[in-house]
């Protein structure tokens, strides 16, 4: 027993001596800025940018006519009772980038291989695969097929493969399934900036860019906030006296 204690004490002394003689190496600096955290574009905050006014977006004749025919639930031409907004009429997922314009936070999780955006609204999420080639034949999805790579301190994200049934924003801005987004994501002081370039020959006569600023949001647990077609129909039944055409959960 005593022999074991002596051996242990000697070993501990040697370890301590080694530690004293050679300073511990500093942890390696992170290869890229850390974008992780919870982020939000607070409602009514004029600093957070957004998509430009529609008259500044170079719509093709097809897109202009489609936009004019839509009946959004917000903005100048709003008609909530008879809206054509797919996210209200069918409770469809918002799609991208519309979900990022929603005034609820998202959590960004950054790993060596992927960056994930987890939106609190409807618990939707997208993944950005890092340092891999784009999928040459992506399936059409609500949130697209995104790949990313670092250019200095900026994460450059290239995405395609978006279903054309979504709106780009709550105003009813349309796009086709050829939508191609290039996003440059970078820190701007304590905030997070997304500079988004929209390319879509069917909807836009030339590429255009939007600047979105996200501010730090309280981190921690995300709240479950799942919105279903029953929720929407029940709301309409109670507040608008609209009779639901299908059975709804109450």
């Amino acid at each position: 027993m005593i022999r074991h204690l002596v051996t242990f004490s000697t070993a501990a002394a040697l370890v301590a001596a080694a530690a004293c003689s050679k300073p511990a190496a500093a942890p390696p600096a992170p290869a890229h800025p850390n974008l992780s955290g919870s982020w939000v574009r607070p409602l009514g905050d004029r600093e957070v940018g957004g998509l430009p006014p529609v008259n500044e977006i170079p719509l093709t004749p097809w897109a202009a006519a489609k936009f004019k025919a839509e009946r959004p639930a917000a903005g100048e031409n709003q008609d909530f009772a008879n809206t054509t907004d797919p996210s209200l009429r069918y409770a469809d997922p918002n799609g991208y980038p519309r979900i990022s314009l929603h005034p609820m936070r998202f959590k960004l999780i950054q790993t060596d291989d992927y960056v994930y955006q987890l939106w609190e609204y409807n618990q939707n999420w997208r993944q950005i695969a890092l340092n891999v080639p784009p999928d040459p034949d992506p399936a059409l999805t609500w949130y697209g097929n995104a790949v990313g790579k670092w250019e200095g301190d900026t994460l450059v994200v290239d995405s395609v493969g978006y279903k054309d049934s979504t709106w780009l924003d709550a105003r009813g801005l349309p796009h086709t399934q050829d939508l191609h987004l290039v996003e440059r994501i970078h820190r701007m002081g304590e905030n997070l900036a997304f500079d988004v370039t929209f390319e879509d020959p069917g909807a836009f006569t030339k590429p255009w860019t939007a600047h979105l600023i996200f501010k730090p949001a309280p981190d921690g647990s995300m709240t479950e906030n799942i919105y279903t077609i029953s929720d929407e129909l029940r709301f309409r039944e109670r507040f608008l006296q609209q009779k639901a055409a299908i059975p709804i959960r109450r």
Binding site: L43, G44, Q78, P103, M104, P218, D231, F235
Partner: protein
């Protein structure tokens, strides 16, 4: 005079901020009169923590059935403003300020509410 102007401007900005929260509701401008505010003391008849927006039923006459149906924001958004799923309950007497429904509809969108124990909650 100058301080009075500042007060008016500050009040306007505050009002805009309050309106901004109300405008978070889908279709708010097409179903509520956002230029009007109504404040009443009423009894809570129901409080439903749900999507798309939390609902409060009230009875201005102290009854137990909903005579006026009010909406708040979505659960995460109003949680950030201090609301919880137990902020009020049926039977509570509250003072609530809201934009009333258009065309006499018995609905409204809440701007603020003072709970039975005096706590002010903004929507």
């Amino acid at each position: 005079m100058r301080s009075r102007v500042i007060c008016v401007v500050a009040g306007t900005v505050a009002a805009l901020l309050v309106c901004t929260s109300a405008l978070a509701h889908h279709g708010a401008a097409s179903i509520y009169d956002l230029s009007k505010e109504t404040t009443i003391k009423a009894t809570v008849t129901e409080y439903v923590w749900t999507n798309p927006h939390v609902e409060i039923g009230i009875s201005p006459n102290g009854g137990t059935t909903t005579e006026l149906l009010l909406e708040l924001g979505s659960p995460p958004n109003i949680r950030n403003r201090g609301w919880t799923s137990r902020s009020v309950k049926p039977g509570d007497v509250v003072t609530v300020t809201f934009h009333p429904g258009l065309r006499g509809a018995k609905i409204g969108v809440v701007m603020k509410l003072i709970t039975a124990d005096g706590k002010e909650l903004r929507a």
